[in-house]
Symmetry: C2
Subunit: 240 residues, 2 copies
DNA sequence: CATGATTTAATGTATAGACATAAAAATCGA
DNA sequence: TCGATTTTTATGTCTATACATTAAATCATG
């Protein structure tokens, strides 16, 4: 693998930082120094350091120089599961089983539904994600038909609503809430677990620009599933 | 707020993408076009588009052009709690209560401890995070004294081990596993909950370069705590 | 008609220089 | 000595240009 000059500079600095040779808060060589050291123009050095800034490994202050940033621990990267892909990676058979399907107006009591609907009808679905026929997650989903009118025609025998949306709707923003709950009787029944079993509860709302697209709540069987978040350079593969 | 030219181009393109004016997969104007449109040099356009690529809003293919990327939903940003800060933000009083403290060699049975120790001793702590005196989380932590020899002298009456480490150790990489578990008797007792209560279980391992720094396992009371992950441009504040 | 060679249009990388800007450091004045 | 002013230094932005690279598009050929 051939590396470009600015990549070389970037990785050299990165290595120096990660190895501890350049500790947090320390100043790294000035652009002029690096320019000479690598025998290149300032723009090239600048590009390399800018990349480190974008990765928030480095902070720059005018006149003062560039400094190794102290890791913030506030923004880790969370691998969000594409359930089908993960189940297949486990060499299991994936299936989505639709439990219910309904088109109705938003419940005026429920704030989220009101926000989502945009005045129009909602498609409300419940279903199960299955791995080798065993329930893995129970899902309740509301979809804004204002944002995704085509979805009313879908059957979801072959593809899960989430996968369909991912393929057909260009969303731009999403927020996920992660919590632990004891399985309620209905959830426990669907997941084939005892009432009270610890479940990883994931709630995600997705927008396209200002308009809500979908709002989904999933219960995962706690002992069978977990999420992985990662901070740092060595981006690993997905969760198991 | 004055914007630089490449920022202007960047935000213009970003707005076009997020508004849907440029849909996923569509091609955006060539660098030559934008060059003319903004009356600037190609380097400036290139910098703007490169930023969008770094933010994975855009993908580029040679000869073909730059295209709006389809959101991947594989990498959301997870707000990792600084517990003390969050408790204070809730206008509650924060405290850490040390339950046990021990210096010992790694258990040869436990792979993680072996990996962490680097042959030297471990500092093993357990304690409670309290909000207004109420238990919020139960924590078990192992610290590599090879990586952090100073920690053996700490008392942790005033500061939690996590906060101390964050302040004193320049780590470079961390991995967090998130799961849901039913509270075991010991955990339930410490958290003042019934046995079996759903707990959010967070396990984090932290490295500096190749060397392990700390390995921590936390149990949060499910109904009192959750995590927020976010994808998209409108970076909001922390979780509640 | 398919397949392989050639052209060409786009991005990728890099240079050398110019001027702008902010803040630390040095200088000067009261 | 302290505060205000000036200088200096390092980054920030941008230009105009050059050549490299790659993959799509086109064209030639069997």
């Amino acid at each position: 693998m051939k590396k470009t000059l600015h990549e070389t500079i970037r990785t050299d600095m990165e290595a120096a930082i990660l190895s501890g040779a350049l500790a947090a808060g320390e100043r790294l060589p000035t652009e002029a120094d690096l320019m000479e050291q690598y025998g290149c123009s300032r723009m090239t050095v600048n590009k390399a350091i800018s990349a480190l800034v974008a990765a928030s490994l480095v902070e720059r202050r005018k006149k003062a120089g560039s400094f190794v940033a102290r890791p913030k621990m506030h923004s880790m990267v969370l691998d969000i599961p594409d359930l089908e892909a993960e189940v297949l990676q486990r060499r299991q058979r994936y299936a989505f089983h639709l439990l219910s399907r309904e088109i109705r107006l938003a419940d005026p009591q429920k704030e989220y539904e009101q926000q989502l609907s945009g005045g129009e009808a909602l498609l409300v679905l419940t279903g199960l994600h299955l791995a080798d026929g065993q329930p893995l997650a129970f899902e309740e989903r509301s979809v804004s038909l204002a944002a995704v009118p085509d979805m009313a025609q879908q059957g979801f025998e072959l593809i899960s609503p989430g996968a369909w949306l991912l393929k057909h709707v260009p969303w731009t923003e999403a927020e996920t809430r992660i919590a632990a709950v004891n399985a309620a009787p209905e959830v426990a029944r669907h997941l084939d677990q005892d009432v009270g079993t610890a479940c990883l509860y994931i709630e995600r709302r997705t927008w396209r620009g200002e308009a809500g697209v979908t709002w989904v709540r999933q219960h995962f069987i706690g002992k069978d599933y977990d999420l992985i978040a990662h901070f740092g350079p060595a981006r690993s593969g997905g969760a198991i």
